[in-house]
Assembly symmetry: C2
Homo-oligomer: 227 residues x 2
């Protein structure tokens, strides 16, 4: 496609004519390419030449815009985490009201947040597992534990006091349970989905939401057998 406005890419040296059709910033294209490749094969595994090739620029551009390899890495993660931070901030802004069915909302929000950017948790998980003791871990630890996770713990404690949730659960364990139920399937499915007859298609998030809502609703209710 669009062969007419672009030369067939054997481009010569010199500053190219600006705004020839509409192409994104080189800097932005490099970040996109780096992110894509990092999701596909891990950042450590892909060379700068590969990144530059996908961005359709020369490797020297990486030095030019980011200094060195680490600079590109940090810039890439910085941009990725901006999206997470925005989502966390949005959820925190609408604090969880009381009511047992409110947990349905919680599950739905969480699953949809992950499904919207399925590459992000994958990338985070990988890099966190990969770099032991890196500043990235501190970063993630803050973003996840202090954010949605702590929020869930607080809310669960509230609901237990109001007898909306069985009080014989450890709130922290329960928060981790919810995180597990919503996050882990997205990591597992590409691996075992085929052999299990499940696919990570458009319908899967809704199916996961429904399943988790049913399960948690049955598990958490404090009505049938208390007081």
């Amino acid at each position: 496609m669009n062969i007419d406005t672009q030369t067939p890419t054997p481009r010569g040296p010199g500053r190219p004519r600006q705004s020839e059709s509409e192409k994104a910033d080189v800097r932005e294209r490099l970040l996109d390419a780096a992110t894509e490749l990092a999701v596909e094969q891990g950042f450590e595994a892909c060379g700068l030449r590969e990144i530059a090739t996908r961005a359709e620029v020369s490797p020297a551009m990486i030095s030019y815009y980011f200094g060195d390899r680490d600079g590109l890495y940090e810039a890439m993660f910085g941009r990725a985490f901006e999206r997470i931070s925005e989502k966390v901030a949005a959820v925190m802004a609408d604090p969880l009201r009381s009511g047992r069915d409110r947990i349905d909302d919680l599950v739905a929000i969480q699953v949809k947040a992950i499904a919207a950017d399925p590459w992000l948790p994958k990338l985070v998980m990988r890099e966190v597992l990969a770099r032991n003791g890196s500043p990235m871990q501190e970063f993630v630890s803050n973003a996840v534990a202090k954010g949605p996770l702590q929020m869930m713990v607080d809310w669960i404690e509230q609901e237990q006091e109001r007898h909306e949730i069985r009080s014989d659960y450890d709130p922290r364990m329960l928060a981790m349970t919810i995180a597990s139920l919503t996050g882990f399937p997205f990591l597992m499915l590409p691996l075992v989905g085929d052999r299990l007859g499940l696919e990570l298609d458009d319908e899967f998030p809704d199916r996961l939401i429904a399943h988790n809502q049913k399960l948690l609703s049955n598990a958490l209710r404090a009505h049938t057998e208390e007081e």
Copy 2:
């Protein structure tokens, strides 16, 4: 320590005298070193020189025993999965009897299997995320999906026919739920445990088992409201 029986490691070429004190097979030492380093920093990130140095042999030994890098990689995973396979086989040999409380055994076995080798799921998860479309994914996919996961699915279907488990769950989703509840916390805890007041200590596996048993027991029971 033991400086007396070993030369201070500037060893010359040629076959070394056998049973000089008692040192393990070079092959085995290489596999140990590769596993350790793979857990610490990921297999892709560590060079053959580093592995050989830790095993206290020359890099050429890797070629000698494993052919090439991929050979070492496969041998390493093969050895690691033997342990898992043994455990799976043991569980399969004692087929899950019927009865609702039997799910308690299932959860306990799974958590204890992971807790016994906490580095294995970490390594598997990382390598699976890292190598997209590699033969290793096929390998893991077979070991995990065809093994414990499929076994759980079959068992759940049985129990649903016997009305021991609510029949309005998708067995495959339920199997994934159990895998999530038992596996994910081990990946999350090192990251968010501190900030949550939970630690991955000796007591944690038992705590996780108890929590999951309670949760699943409440969620799965088919008695209180059906027939």
